[in-house]
């Protein structure tokens, strides 16, 4: 049973741009998939659609065997909250809030009792190795630390899947490696499904499988044979 499955996904914007022209693939639980392509290839559009942030023009998208097209706005929000985590290139943190408050943000929209929030947030922060920065305001942090906070935020509701949109794009190579290391560990040790968007082959090679996308269609779908391990970078 696939976690998500898209078939013949088409997205045409109102200005006539055809961002997706029939993308088809599926992702199973526990996979670590890189979607790679040059800018304008449609990879971000694809991520937005499978991340329930946008809707396709046509084609079918099944998440956990459910037809997403039938969902109401509240249900989509609930799915994003409970089953999905997002990591963006620009971090998208609230600068005037502390690390802990940023990590808690998804909990505000969950239905978990407030008494559990503090522990969950601390646990998530610990899993990205930022426990010592817990009460810092996020604008005081380095880029790498900011992205770790974003990852902790994505993890807080123990999602089925994490979507990472160019997560290393704004980081120096060392911080980028640290972030990739976290993703690999999350995938290996905790079994999180991860979909990574990137335009760099080097970054994509940290995944287990790579989908190449060009002009809105999936060009190739290959397992990575010579996988890079971010942890070895630090040795």
């Amino acid at each position: 049973m696939s976690l998500l499955q898209v078939s013949n996904l088409i997205k045409t914007y109102s200005d006539g741009t055809e961002a997706l022209r029939g993308a088809t693939f599926s992702v199973d639980r526990g996979e670590f998939v890189a979607i790679m392509g040059p800018s304008g290839s449609g990879k971000s559009t694809l991520l937005h659609i499978i991340g329930l942030l946008d809707k396709q023009t046509s084609g079918e998208y099944l998440f956990e065997e459910k037809k997403i097209a039938d969902f109401k706005e509240e249900e989509l929000a609930m799915f994003r909250n409970k089953k999905m985590g997002f990591v963006f290139q620009m971090f998208n943190l609230l600068p005037k809030a502390t690390v802990l408050e940023n990590v808690k943000l998804p909990l505000l929209y969950s239905h978990l009792p407030e008494s559990k929030w503090e522990d969950l947030a601390k646990e998530a922060v610990a899993s990205v190795g930022l426990s010592h920065r817990i009460n810092n305001l996020t604008w005081e942090l380095s880029g790498g630390e900011k992205q770790k906070v974003a990852i902790a935020r994505a993890l807080i509701n123990k999602p089925e899947i994490i979507f990472a949109d160019e997560p290393t794009g704004n980081l120096d190579s060392k911080s980028g490696q640290a972030v990739m290391d976290i993703f690999q560990k999350l995938n290996k040790e905790k079994g999180h499904t991860i979909i990574l968007i990137t335009h760099e082959t080097y970054t994509a090679e940290h995944a287990k499988r790579v989908l190449s996308i060009k002009d809105g269609v999936i060009e190739s779908d290959k397992p990575i044979t010579n996988r890079r391990l971010a942890s070895s970078f630090f040795k």
Partner: protein, 414 residues
Amino acid sequence: MVLKYTFKTATRALITHKVRSFLTILGIVIGIAAIILVSSVGESANNVIVGELGGLGAETVVIRPGKEPKGPTDIAETLFSDSLKERELEALKKKGNVPDIADISPEILVPGSVSYAGETYKPVILGFSADFMTDTLGLVVSEGASFGEAEIRARSKVAVIGRKVAVELFGNNNPIGEQIQIKNNKFRVVGLFEKRGQVVFFDVDELVLVPYSTAQTYLSGNDYYTQIIARAVSPEKVDGVVYDIKRTLRDLHKIDDPEKDDFYVQTQQGLVEQVESIIGVFTLFLSLVVAVSLVVGGVGIMNIMLVSVTERTKEIGLRKAVGATSKDIMLQFLTEAVILTFAGGLIGVIIGVSLSFMVSVLAKLIAGFALSFVFPIVPALVGIFVSVLVGVVFGIYPAREASKKSPIEALRYE
């Protein structure tokens, strides 16, 4: 979303822009402060005037010359009307005409000053019946004696004076028996009123009371009255007395059409209603001004909230991405607008109450006017409610705009 966090988020957003938030709510602050001030001072003034009129007694009926004033020019007209003279007084005194009158006296207001041994003072000089003063208005002659019917008939040059007049002219000396000068006539001071302050239309302490007959003969130089004051035997008889007075005077003046009356009759009840209606109109007008200022304030709130929504587009996108529904976003921005206006209302109430208190203190200090300060609890609650309402009304559009943003466009926004 847990309400506590909605509040926390909203408060943080507002505190981040302290100056902007403050300037935004200034319109609301001023509007609400004005509501409180207007209603509180209006209420106090109303209480004072109605209280004063209460001193007139429910049985009292005032007959004035001229047409009933409907505007400022009509009042000027009454001052020069001469329709009430001795003939009218005698007619009204007849039991056959107005059976339920207990007492009646004409009143003559004389402009001018009094002097004694080089000291001059400008009091309220009133030609009246002293008995009526003491019986109906409850004034007390504490030293010396009053004058009675005998002095009125004899047109005696005697006067009963108020405390302030006595102090101004005589200092600490006893004024009883001394001669004071009013318009080239010597009047002997026979009595001194007890210190009392404001009663109905005049300050007792500034009063110089002389027999009305004497006032006509020596002071006013004409034979008409400023007004005639009558007292009905009981409050229940007032309406009947008013009816009888009107009928008697119309007969006497041969008037068929009430529109052409050359006199008018006022009762305490009528005066209270008149005062209340004047204050009511005044309050209504000011309320309209306040309403306009609140609308302007509300538009200011809306403007700033729209700016805030645009500024925080990215934040909205993020919140939606991590699971916020449109409703959550809407509630968040609406809460922000309401917190703003609520704070504005609260500050406005504090300022308004402080100003009302200051007005009451100043009124006492400067004008000697006992404007009692009552904490305006109802206007304060109304003020808070109205400010919250302004927040909801003017916050809803920006909040909707925020909630309608698609997460993708919001996240892309730079």
